[in-house]
Amino acid sequence: MGNKQTIFTQEQLDAYQDCTFFTRKEILRLFHRYRDLAPQLVPLDYSAKPAVTLPYQLIGSMPELKDNPFRQRIAEVFSEHGDGNMTLDDFLDMFSVLSEMAPRDLKAYYAFKIYDFNNDDYICKSDLEKTVNKLTRNELTPEEVSLVCEKVIYEADVDNDGKLSLADFQHMIVRAPDFL
């Protein structure tokens, strides 16, 4: 009892609970949030696993993501084809990784992907510049931006190839007290 919902089959819910950090209630709530973005596109019955994808514009307009300077990257990283359009699975996945219950190394892995703007598995200087500009909304002068990027590479690049690999990034981020 208590299973009054007809959106998912029980197995689906159980499976989601095993694959994400969410409880049953939270998964249902997330589904409703997803649906609220486009009620006409998202059916109420997911037991047949419809293949519904919401375009990036809708995802990016969510209040939780609206003010985030990295929302485009986040959507791209978690979407199926890297274009920012997300299915419900991707949606759940994204929030599961971003939730507080996800462990740091998992977050670090995804953070690396988010900050890697050109998807080449390395964070190079241009990626860093883009990050800084997004963070400060272009308020720093180019010299300052350049100084910051140089410092970052100097601090974190362990293998001295002029860019940050996943290992460099993880080595650096795992010690950060503020990484949440």
Binding site: D18, T23, P63, D67, D93, V152
Partner: protein
């Protein structure tokens, strides 16, 4: 439990993909047919074991499968699946058989359609298991078709062990599946596989008992984490003004914010002091002491009565304000008051001493805590990287907060850049040194000049006082105060200009600035105290030598006056009737404590007024002027001369510290001081927060405040020490006024302690105390404390060094 059966059935199925055959056909049965039945069965189980927070599914399932296993013996139904515990091989075989039977019966699996895929993938992944699976499949094959248990080859120990291992692996995989950085689809399929595998084989291995407990533990951990988070949120919400300060921090940087954090901390201390004085001194006297008008010391004298209620008098804290619980003079020296036998004088004394003690304790404790934070290590090895990757708060969902966050990140980057540039700067040493020496010389000159000016003015005011204040106008009367305030306003700006010669890192420049202004204010304060002492001496010159004389005179006068009253009336009885004399008419003795208290209160109030007016005029009007007159002015006001003011950190911090020094000094004589200060700090917080956001611009070189604020604390401690000296001196050496206050009639104020010891404690207590205060005991004690301080200092130094060594080794 058809669902589980189906599950296991499908697992069996998947394991036997090699077999294919009719199972495969059954696999094709549409899922949907199954769904409702399964759902219902699930419900049945769920209510027993599930809780809304979602136990681990696997545990759940395992449990159910186990239960079913137990029931297997009883039920003969086909839907029975029976991984019984101890029946290893046979049970295994049997279950597989039954799976197959199940399959036959129900026509194949559904719901967990993915399990098929999973089964495939699984066998792809784990080669080892593949072999084991194959072996089992073979065994199954051999066993299939027979309805009854037939003789099966027992699985060998080795295989069993391997199987166990695999099952454990699978379980771990399931438990950590959410931690894997895979796409959801992949996770879901892997999950199905692993689950089926474990379900199938676990019963045979007889494990799974602890699963329920494990799931319960996990749920509790989750709940605990959630509770902790909520509690943290609640705690943060309780901190007053947190949002305001965060806003200021994001726009102006951490150094400006550190002033406000300091202000908030002071507010906390003052609240506690206020609580002490209000609750233990003012309230008991108001509730249980004799009411206004019953005693001479509690009544406004007849002469002043006419003006007692005027606003001007009240603003000056005389009149009714003077003769109330707000000041020392009101309190009666009765040993106990009221039906509670509340010992008023003792309480007054202890509250006075206690507030000072508390202040010392808390300042030292905060310093120690800050020292810990500092010494813990300034890990700057990844400074910029962390700023870049971890500064954005992904939880922000509000555009205003986002704006603040952007501003704060920008400021923080700028701060870090300044630090970086400072460390890269090269200096021309000689020129800098010369300039610095010159700057210090100029600063000293300014200080000397201001000291002399104050001295000169005080002398003049003493002259005026001697000649009678009525002859002079407002300026002469308030000369000392105004000169001090003006000096306090203009000298810091002068120091600021001088410091531009020195070219220090902004944080160090701030410290120099603070130090110089500190010296300035100290000089002012010192001269002020001298002035006060002089005033007291002036009056004392007239009555201290005569104190005993005057006392006698006044008492004599009083007796004569009383006698006259008696003579005037005809005594009705032999016992002298209580003379109904209005206390307002009784002649009063002098009361210097109240006078001192009044001076302090007036000073605090005028200080408060000065600050507010300075903010309004200096910052607000200036900003308004610059903003609106910029259109019709020759040069650009915003960039040119007046422009908007920057927030003056040093001036404000020192103002705060000296204000607190006043409070500490004066609260013994005027219990209302902490209350006034609480009010002042409260309004000051709001006014300054508004003024900063509205009229100030961030400094050009935004720098990071030193994490600890220990510099402010050190100054505060010094001031605390200085301000307790006068109070302690008066307690110990000066006799209290004979006609007012809780200690009247005693030769020294601290005698109240000995009195209490005599009356209220058993006699042996007094003896013990007497022995303890023997100098022969006190001196060795002091020596011991000095030695322990030295020892602790040495140990802490060695720890720090060891710390540094270890850090180096780590790098």
């Amino acid at each position: 439990d058809g669902s589980d059966d189906n599950e296991e059935g499908s697992a069996a199925e998947n394991e036997e993909t090699a077999k294919g055959t009719d199972k495969g056909k059954k696999r094709a049965t549409p899922r949907t047919r199954r769904a409702p039945a399964r759902g219902r069965d699930r419900h049945g189980d769920e209510e027993d074991e599930d809780d809304e927070d979602g136990k681990r599914r696997t545990g759940h399932r395992r449990h159910r499968s186990r239960r079913r296993g137990r029931a297997a013996g009883n039920e003969a139904s086909d839907s029975d699946m029976e991984p019984a515990k101890a029946r290893k091989n046979q049970a295994n075989q049997k279950s597989k058989e039954d799976d197959e039977e199940e399959e036959d019966e129900k026509g194949g699996k559904s719901g967990k359609g993915k399990s098929e895929k999973k089964g495939d993938k699984k066998s792809d992944k784990k080669g080892k298991k593949e072999k084991a699976n194959k072996k089992k499949k073979d065994k199954k094959k051999s066993g299939s078709g027979s309805d009854s248990e037939s003789e099966e080859e027992p699985i060998t120990e080795e295989e069993l062990a391997k199987l166990k291992e695999e099952v454990e692996e699978k379980k771990k995989l399931i438990a950590t599946l959410r931690n894997k950085p895979w796409k959801m689809k992949k996770k879901l399929s892997v999950l199905k596989e692993a689950q089926l595998f474990v379900e199938k084989f676990e019963g045979a291995l007889g494990k799974g008992k602890g699963k329920k407990f494990y799931a319960y533990k996990v749920m509790m951990t989750k709940k605990w984490m959630k509770f902790q988070r909520d509690f943290e949120n609640f705690k943060t919400a309780c901190i007053p003004w947190e949002m305001k300060i965060k806003e200021i921090e994001s726009h102006f940087g951490s150094s400006v914010a550190s002033y406000f954090i300091f202000l908030r901390w002071m507010y906390g201390i003052n609240m506690i002091l206020f609580g002490l004085t209000f609750g233990l001194v003012m309230v008991p006297e108001a509730l249980m002491g004799k009411p206004y008008g019953s005693l001479p010391r509690k009544t406004v004298p007849r002469a002043e009565e006419a003006t007692a209620m005027n606003f001007a008098t009240l603003w000056d804290f005389s009149g009714f304000a003077q003769y109330s619980v707000l000041f020392y003079g009101y309190y009666n020296n009765q040993r106990t008051i009221g039906w509670l036998k509340f010992r008023m004088p003792l309480s007054y004394f202890l509250v006075g001493v206690g507030s000072i003690g508390y202040s010392f304790m808390i300042v030292t404790r905060t310093m120690a805590k800050n020292a810990n934070d500092d010494g813990g290590g300034d890990d700057t090895s990844f400074n910029f990287s962390w700023k870049m990757f971890t500064s954005w708060d992904y939880l922000i969902g509000n555009p205003e907060t986002a704006d603040n966050k952007f501003a704060s990140i920008t400021t923080s980057f700028k701060e870090a850049i300044v630090e970086e540039q400072e460390s890269r700067k090269e200096e021309n040493i000689h020129l800098t040194r010369f300039l610095r020496v010159l700057a210090n010389f100029l600063a000293l000159c300014t200080l000397a000049g201001s000291g002399y000016l104050i001295f000169f003015v005080v002398r003049r005011s003493q002259q005026f006082a001697l000649e009678g204040l009525e002859n002079y106008g407002w300026w002469e009367r308030n000369e000392v105060n105004t000169v001090m305030s003006l000096l306090g306003m203009f000298c810091p700006t002068l120091f600021d200009v001088i410091s531009s010669l020195e070219n220090y890192h902004p944080r160090i420049a701030l410290r120099w600035q603070l130090g110089r202004i500190f010296a300035l204010f100290l000089g002012n304060l010192y001269t002020f105290i001298i002035a006060l002492m002089d005033e007291i001496n002036l009056k004392a010159r007239y009555f201290l030598p005569f104190t005993l004389e005057e006392e006698k005179i006044v008492k004599y006068n009083m007796t004569i006056w009383e006698a006259s009253l008696y003579n005037g009336t005809i005594p009705e009885n032999s016992t002298a009737p209580p003379i109904q004399v209005d206390p307002a008419d009784v002649p009063r003795g002098p009361c210097w404590e109240t006078m001192v208290g009044q001076e302090f209160v007036r000073l605090t109030v005028s200080d408060m007024m000065t600050t507010y007016i300075t903010i309004l005029i200096g910052d607000f009007l200036r900003a308004v002027f610059v903003r609106f007159f910029n259109y019709c002015w020759c040069w650009d006001l915003e960039y040119g001369f007046p422009s908007y003011s920057e927030f003056d950190i040093s001036g404000n911090v020192l103002g705060l510290i000296f204000n607190q020094g006043m409070i500490w000094m004066g609260s013994f004589y005027a219990p209302c001081l902490p209350a006034i200060n609480v009010f002042r700090l409260h309004t000051s917080m709001y006014l300054q927060c508004w003024a900063v956001m509205c009229c100030n611009v961030p400094q050009e070189r935004v720098f990071k405040a030193s994490r600890s604020n220990n510099f402010y604390m050190a100054m505060l401690l010094f001031i605390l020490f200085l301000s307790t000296l006068p109070a302690v001196y008066t307690i110990v050496s000066i006799p209290p006024s004979f006609d007012c206050g809780p200690f009247s009639g005693k030769t020294r104020m601290f005698e109240v302690i000995s009195e209490t010891l005599e009356h209220d404690f058993p006699s042996w207590f007094g003896k013990v105390f007497g022995y303890a205060s023997n100098p022969g005991l006190i001196l060795p004690f002091i020596l011991l404390m000095v030695l322990s301080i030295y020892y602790l200092n040495a140990t802490s130094k060695s720890y720090k060094e060891a710390n540094l060594e270890l850090k180096k080794k780590l790098q």
